[in-house]
């Protein structure tokens, strides 16, 4: 594969919970500027892998490299500091706070001068302006940054969460089922938004159950089964039924086939 260095990679990740092996030597690569979808049946290890990559848990074995350097996240805070932002499916926003406050939550900026330094006065206007700029760049049509998030539709709320992640992510964004809680029309809005995040040059890891969306969005599809990566396919080289067959193990012999097929296509 004629690819540049992966921005995020993992090799031989193992995570056991007692007798249960959640990750059994899983590998992973994310390349600059791509949307990588992760699919797999329930219990295939998708969420354990994502938690390991986002610092929510520590693998028992294996290594993770960010930009070629080995890293060891002890908490989601560590991952965030390293430039990895995560969007969760259950709309992790504070509904009573306004949009700008949510975008800057935990990263509030203060006024300059003695007011900011001594009195810790917030720079509300500056934060609203910045938030509005990011929303415009992402093409999210929300007029007022001081609207409480609870007044927004589900899709707009998730838009706020995606915008927050895109605002702060230096390296990449992880989206864990970002459309799972949304209706059809709102899902469409969020999908457009994910495309625009990629256009801005941020690579995205997308976990989704929704095959049509995965095939619409993803540059590459990472397929998990029984705690390992069994194949990486692309929407060009494989059809949806083929991907599902690999995912469910209906065609185990496809494993080598899939990898060679992908390799020859690149």
């Amino acid at each position: 594969m004629s690819s540049p260095t992966p921005i995020l990679e993992a090799s031989g990740l193992v995570k056991k919970y007692g007798q249960v092996v959640a990750l059994n030597g899983a590998d992973f690569e994310l390349y600059p500027g791509e949307i990588l979808a992760i699919i797999g049946d329930n219990g295939a290890g998708k969420s354990t892998l994502i938690k390991a990559l986002s610092g929510a848990l520590q693998p028992d074995e294996g290594e993770i490299k960010l930009g070629g350097e080995r890293i060891n996240f002890h908490s989601p805070r560590d991952a965030r500091r390293a430039g990895i932002e995560t969007v969760y499916q259950d709309l992790a926003v504070a509904p009573a706070l306004d949009i700008a406050a949510n975008v800057f939550l935990g990263r509030e900026t203060r006024r300059g001068g003695p007011f900011g330094f001594l009195l810790r006065l917030l720079d509300k206007r500056g934060m609203r302006r910045e938030a509005a700029r990011h929303f415009e760049e992402l093409g999210i049509g929300i007029q007022s940054m001081d609207e409480p998030v609870e007044n927004l539709s589900g899709g707009q709320r998730q838009g706020v969460a995606v915008a927050r992640a895109a605002t702060w992510a230096q390296r990449l964004v992880i989206m864990d089922e970002p459309t799972a809680a949304l209706g059809v029309k709102e899902t469409g809005q969020v999908i457009e938004l994910i495309k625009r995040v990629r256009e801005r040059g941020l690579p995205v890891i997308l976990i989704s159950h929704d095959m049509p969306h995965v095939f619409e969005l993803a540059d590459r599809i990472h397929i998990m089964r029984l705690g390992r990566r069994v194949a990486v396919v692309t929407p060009k080289t494989h059809t949806m039924p083929e991907a599902v067959a690999i995912m469910t193990g209906a065609t185990p012999s496809q494993l080598d086939n899939a990898l060679t097929k992908e390799g020859s296509a690149e």
Partner: protein
């Protein structure tokens, strides 16, 4: 200012969370003004403010706790304990006024730290924690005071009861202190990152944690500051009554502080509410008690009315919350 901006301003004013409580206050005042001539008088308002001062300061701490989706049932008894400690030390133990006062206030702060520690560290529900300390503080108040009343207090301890006169009406310094505390709390809640984190922690604790806010530290700071307000309320109480009374502050203060917060429009579910609303809520409670007394309603019926009032206010909160959620 263009018509759209005027419209926007009008919309903001109408939907502002303090408008409802404010209208309730005006209606209450209008009611008692019609019922008795003695109500709408400067000297009576001065009295209402003095009566409101204690509950008003307790309600500041209560607001902070309720904003984080907690509740503090111990406010009145913790204040009573602080009051007994600061007066007993000064009168019976010969401790100089300043250290006696500070030890009284620190006791209340200590209870706040204990609440915060148990809620964040042991993950106990605030309801149970403060129900426990309600009884602990109650018991300690009577054990430490030996059921004695302390009089002949040092000047420092009764300072906030002193008055100044504006065009013939007396105001206590304590009322001024209460207003200053409200202003400071308003600043902290609305103009600093800490305030945002308090709201976010009460609104959606998990989301707040995921954005990198140290929600345990936020909760600990809230309970500690709440304890401080109970300590200051103890100082105000001593200033108002000029005695250290083990039976003071244990009857109506707990419920009144919660009533003030809820009447002020702060949601018991956390994350929504304003400190100015609480001030208005405390005034509503004060006006109610004062007005009912003026029109000759017996004290026992005042309990009845406040009880109904708080249930009414919580019902409104519940209904609006259900609609929003």
């Amino acid at each position: 200012m263009g018509p759209t901006r005027t419209l926007e301003l009008a919309r903001r004013v109408i939907t502002a969370p303090t408008v409802g409580p404010f209208i309730a206050l005006v209606v209450t005042m209008a009611f008692f003004s019609l019922k008795t001539d003695r109500f709408f008088q400067a000297q009576n308002f001065s009295l209402v403010l003095q009566q409101v001062m204690i509950v008003g300061v307790l309600a500041i701490g209560q607001t902070l706790v309720i904003l984080t989706a907690g509740i503090d049932l111990s406010v009145g008894t913790v204040m009573a304990l602080g009051q007994v400690i600061m007066t007993k030390l000064a009168v019976a133990n010969g401790v100089p006024a300043l250290p006696a006062l500070l030890l009284g206030i620190l006791t209340c702060v200590g209870f706040g730290v204990l609440h915060g520690g148990l809620v964040t560290g042991v993950r106990l529900p605030p309801f149970i924690v403060t129900l426990g300390t309600l009884n602990i503080a109650f018991a300690l108040t009577h054990i430490i005071s030996n059921d004695l009343t302390f009089t002949g207090l040092p000047k420092l301890e009764v300072f906030w009861g002193r008055t100044f006169t504006i065009s013939g009406t007396d105001f206590t310094y304590g009322v001024v202190l209460m207003l200053v505390l409200y202003a400071l709390t308003w600043y902290g809640l609305n103009q600093t990152a800490w305030g945002r984190h308090v709201y976010a922690t009460g609104d959606n604790r998990e989301a707040a944690r995921l954005t990198g806010i140290n929600t345990r530290r936020v909760l600990l700071s809230v309970y500690t500051l709440a304890g401080l307000t109970y300590g200051i309320a103890a100082w105000l109480l001593v200033g108002r009554t000029e005695v250290g009374d083990p039976n003071a502050g244990q009857t109506t203060e707990n419920l009144d502080s919660i009533t003030a917060v809820v009447l002020g429009g702060t949601s018991l579910f956390g994350g929504r509410g304003t400190i100015i609303g609480t001030l208005i809520g405390a005034l509503i409670v004060g006006v109610f008690r004062n007005g009912l007394t003026l029109i000759g309603v017996q004290v026992i019926y005042q309990y009845l009315v406040t009880g109904i009032l708080v249930i009414l206010a919580v019902s409104i909160d519940q209904l609006t919350h259900r609609r929003a959620g």
